[in-house]
């Protein structure tokens, strides 16, 4: 950085940061999509899985590679369903989590206490158990003013996954707000800003930058955790992979098919993890 003025990107408005020369270039994009080594290793892993299976199979059945290819479109469809669930759970969990996080800094002690308790409870529970809870606790249909609304399993699964996300987002929000120096609150209050104005105009614009990397990290974790819904009987990529294996009834396919599923998740989640690191570095406050 040779602007000669500040070394603290967090202190600049986003527009400035993007304009800053040599700040957001090819290097970063390369970083997001990872080094060649990682992908080489990944491809080698997949090829090796297939090769081991091919070697073990001397019969005249269709080749392992062809079989994996045959099932790929179906499993990819399931994978897209996983992604849809992850996006929906993230949206619901983020919305509820922001409320819960703000609740934790409320001036009203009961609101603060309840928000804290809910956050701690859902943050320290196993995701799978919460998922089961949501599946069996929520009714399969809701009767509101004579209208029956069906609650399909996928909907309940989204809620079930949104619960731990909510609690983790609440902690990210609370931590982000608490990380802003108390002097910012004092000066805003001294200028007669109300608490809401202070939060909205002064604190949150600064805190959100610090919240984005852990939030993205949480999203990557959630995406991988969506495979849990296969346990409660929803047809996702995991279920479909298992189905394909049952249909083929060939043990030599286990490794390659699961490798393919792993690859799908990796290709999606790894760039997110890298982008998180890049953003963390960019937003880092160096003192």
């Amino acid at each position: 950085m040779n602007r000669g003025t500040t070394d603290l990107p967090v202190l600049l408005a986003p527009r400035r940061r993007i304009e800053a020369p040599g700040e957001w270039g090819l290097r970063d994009i390369a970083a997001v999509f990872g080094s060649r080594k990682v992908f080489a290793a990944l491809v080698a892993f997949a090829v090796l899985s297939v090769a081991v299976a091919e070697a073990a199979d001397a019969s005249v059945r269709p080749g392992v590679f062809a079989t994996v290819l045959k099932w790929t479109p179906l499993i990819a469809t399931g994978f897209l369903f996983n992604l849809a669930v992850s996006v929906a759970s993230m949206a619901v969990g983020t919305f509820a989590g922001v409320l819960l996080g703000l609740g934790q800094i409320s001036l009203l002690a009961p609101v603060r206490g309840a928000s804290w308790a809910a956050t701690q409870f859902f943050r320290n529970s196993p995701w799978l158990v919460l998922l089961f809870f949501a599946m069996f606790l929520l009714p399969f249909e809701l009767k509101v003013a004579g209208v029956t609304i069906a609650l399909p399993a996928w909907f309940k699964a989204i809620i079930g996954l949104a619960l731990p996300v909510m609690a983790n987002v609440a902690e990210i929000v609370r931590g982000g707000i608490k990380s802003i120096p108390v002097g910012q609150w004092e000066s805003a209050e001294s200028l007669a800003f109300t608490r809401i104005q202070t939060l909205w105009r002064i604190i949150l614009p600064q805190a959100v930058k610090r919240m984005i990397p852990p939030w993205m990290n949480l999203y990557a974790i959630l995406t991988m955790a969506t495979t849990l819904i296969s346990v409660v009987g929803i047809q996702d990529a995991m279920t479909l992979t298992r189905g394909a294996l049952v249909a083929e009834a060939r043990t030599d396919l286990y490794l390659p098919l699961y490798a393919m599923l792993l690859l799908l998740f990796f290709i999606y989640c790894y760039p997110i993890a890298r982008l998180t690191q890049v953003l963390e570095r960019r937003f880092a406050v160096r003192i």
Binding site: T5, L11, P181, S187, E189, L191, A192
Partner: protein, 248 residues
């Protein structure tokens, strides 16, 4: 400096502040009149900053009365926002909003708190930045400014609310001698224009020059006060003489 002294703006009567068992302020009484510049000096931990922060209700007091332009501060249902529209405060650590430019920092409170017209606010903000000699830094972010420049933006930001009283809480304590001077010049000009000021400071020379009244605090009480000439030359109390010997 001598002004036509007006009505009292701040009337402090017998306030006490405790943090648990620790008494930070004990039976403090003082008056600041319109147009007056009052300096509070004293060793670290003597309660100077707490006293200043009590005036705009950043620190609630445990006992006594603080009246600012008729508003009683030590009252449970105090309208803090009404009080703070009258009182500006500048902090040692500047506390500018780092995500806003210098101009935006000055504009924010009039725009969002007073809900004034944007062009009007912007014109005034530019005038205020010119007044603190920072016209060329309007578009700069706080991180791009020196300590002295940030502190002058902070002064302009407080002035934008048209306060009737300005509080300065050791505003030069974090600055080097050169940038310190820029800030002191700005405060001196304000005082000369008749702005009512209350300063907590370690700058004895500056206090002697601009103050109408000097208060020495120690151990949470006011040891002695008086006009600078008298205060510095003929201190009545042993404690004052000891303190002045240390710092002068």
């Amino acid at each position: 400096m001598s002004h036509e002294l007006g009505a009292p703006i701040v009337l402090i009567d017998g306030i006490e502040k405790r943090f648990g068992a620790l008494v930070v302020l004990r039976d403090i009484s003082l008056t600041v009149r319109r147009g007056e510049c009052v300096c509070v000096i004293g060793p670290s931990g003597s309660g100077k900053s707490t006293l200043l922060r009590a005036i705009n209700a950043l620190v609630p007091v445990s006992k006594g009365s603080i009246k600012v332009d008729g508003i009683e501060v030590n009252e449970p249902d105090l309208d803090k926002l009404a009080l703070r529209r009258k009182v500006g405060i500048v902090f040692q650590q500047y506390n500018l909003f780092p995500h806003k430019t210098a101009l935006e920092n000055v504009m924010m409170a009039p725009l969002h708190v007073l809900k004034q017209q944007k062009d009007e606010v912007e014109a005034r903000a530019r005038r205020l930045l010119a007044k603190v000699r920072l016209s060329d830094k309007e578009g700069a972010y706080p991180g791009e400014l020196s300590g002295g420049q940030q502190q002058r933006v902070a002064i302009a930001r407080s002035l934008a609310m048209n306060p009737m009283l300005m509080l300065f809480d050791e505003v030069t304590a974090a600055l080097d001698p050169e940038t310190k001077k820029e800030v002191l010049v700005t405060i001196r000009e304000l005082a000369a224009e008749g702005m009512t000021c209350m300063l907590v400071t370690h700058e004895m020379g500056f206090a002697a020059e601009v103050a109408d009244q000097i208060y020495l605090t120690d151990g949470g009480t006011i040891v002695e006060h008086g006009p600078p000439a008298e205060f510095f030359r003929n201190a009545r109390h042993e404690r004052t003489r000891a303190f002045l010997d240390q710092v002068l």
